[in-house]
Each structure stands twice: as structure tokens, then as C-alpha cells.
């Protein structure tokens, strides 16, 4: 069965610093997609970044980037120049194929200190 594990229930970072959130997954599929979603206190889930497994290049979106290690089944999120607005729950999610359902990790609560 596919599973997604986020081993850090809570993380803290100083404003303007860099933080990395960890995610590992278990799958026997070769074609799959990985996502990081952000859920701020307002509760609106927002897609931060996505990675297609067939792409070797790590995805980046402005201050957000991933370190995708396919062999290790690892998909970490790096947030550079952290801002107060980055404080939120972050969920790692996985799906296989193009019509699968998302499987979520349990989330990491990120706090940003001014």
C-alpha cells in the first residue's frame, strides 16, 4: 500500500532563514506525482509545488524548492528566506497515474519567528 510519512510534526524557523521539511513515501509504481500543500490558519489548502516522478529536475517555485530523491523515495521541501506568511501546516501528498486519489501525510506545522 502506498503511504506518505512526514516525520516532523512541528518545525520552527527564524524569519529570513531557510527550513527543510521532510517527506518520504512508499510505492511500487513508476509513474506518480508528488505535491506539497500549505494550509494556513485560514484553512484554505493551497498547492505549493508539484513534482512528476519521471522528471529528474527538482521543481522550484520562487522561494520554494524540492529535493526529489526517487531511489530513496524522499521528497523534501525547502523554503528559503522564510516569511511570517509561511507559517502554516504543510502536507506532503502522493498520487500515481493521472487519475489516482491523493494520499496525504499527517502534516508538519511550521512556525516562523520574527
Amino acid at each position: 500500500a502506498q503511504t506518505v510519512t512526514q516525520s516532523q510534526p512541528e518545525m520552527s524557523v527564524q524569519e529570513a532563514e531557510t527550513v527543510t521539511l521532510s517527506c518520504t513515501y512508499d510505492t511500487s509504481e513508476s509513474d506518480y506525482y508528488l505535491f506539497w500543500y500549505k494550509q494556513p490558519p485560514s484553512r484554505q489548502m493551497i498547492l505549493v509545488i508539484r513534482q512528476e516522478a519521471y522528471k529528474q529536475q527538482n521543481a522550484t517555485e520562487n522561494r520554494f524548492s524540492v529535493n526529489f530523491q526517487k531511489a530513496a523515495k524522499s521528497f523534501s521541501l525547502k523554503i528559503s528566506d522564510s516569511q511570517l506568511g509561511d507559517a502554516a501546516m504543510y502536507f506532503c501528498a502522493y498520487t500515481f497515474g493521472s487519475q489516482g486519489n491523493l494520499i496525504f501525510g499527517k502534516g508538519t506545522k511550521l512556525s516562523v519567528k520574527p
Binding site: 510534526p9 506525482y33 505535491f35 500543500y37 485560514s42 484553512r43 484554505q44 489548502m45 493551497i46 498547492l47 508539484r50 512528476e52 502536507f91 498520487t95 497515474g97 493521472s98 487519475q99 489516482g100 486519489n101 491523493l102 496525504f104 501525510g105 499527517k106 502534516g107
Partner: protein, 116 residues
């Protein structure tokens, strides 16, 4: 922009009541989903719908049913609410245009349901 709306942000119901949670999306998406979010458990899929009048059970369907009579609306029904159904409920939708790629899910703001 895609907009997914949910009928209530907060809802308080009594044990045994029939509860309807409504979700509406305005982007003509084929797929819609209902999740339950609990602290320490992440998001768990209750039901999903590939298209109108179609529904599939997710990981935790017990105690819930769904209805999708129109493409834009997906309802979650608690036939007889119980205290263990106190939770945050999130609705999502996504476009399915073929097998070329996986399109992201767009989420509603959530409904926090309390069953007394």
C-alpha cells in the same frame, strides 16, 4: 481562478441528526472529493465522484453517504451524526481531461463540524 465553496464554515449539530455538507465548484471540474481532517491524522478520503451521479468510496466511508446530481455540486451526508464525526471536512475538485497529466486538486475553505 477556481473557486470551491462550502456551505458553512462552522456547524454544530446534535447526535442523531441528519447533516448535509454542501460543496460547489465553478470551474466545470469532473472530479470532486470529500476529505476529513483530524489532528495528527492528516487528510483522509471519505468519498469521491468522477462525474455526475457517480460515486466511489474512499478510505473511511462508514457513516457517510454522498450525492452528486449536478456537476458543480457534491454533497456529503451524515445520516445519523455521532460525536466521533466531529471533525474538519474539506471538499476538493479537479479537472480530468485525459491521461496526459495529473491536474491538481483545488480545495474549499473547510467546514468545522461539531456533533454534541
Amino acid at each position: 481562478d477556481v473557486k470551491v465553496t462550502q456551505s458553512s464554515r462552522y456547524l454544530v449539530k446534535r447526535t442523531g441528526e441528519k447533516v448535509f455538507l454542501e460543496c460547489v465548484q465553478d470551474m466545470d471540474h469532473e472530479n470532486m472529493f470529500w476529505y476529513r481532517q483530524d489532528p495528527g491524522l492528516g487528510l483522509r478520503l471519505i468519498y469521491f465522484s468522477y462525474d455526475v451521479k457517480m460515486k466511489e468510496k474512499g478510505d473511511i466511508p462508514e457513516g457517510y453517504s454522498v450525492s452528486r446530481e449536478k456537476k458543480e455540486r457534491f454533497s456529503l451526508i451524515l445520516e445519523s451524526a455521532s460525536t466521533n464525526q466531529t471533525s474538519m471536512y474539506l471538499c476538493a475538485s479537479r479537472s480530468y481531461k485525459g491521461l496526459a497529466t495529473y491536474n491538481e486538486q483545488f480545495f474549499g475553505p473547510g467546514t468545522r463540524l461539531t456533533v454534541l
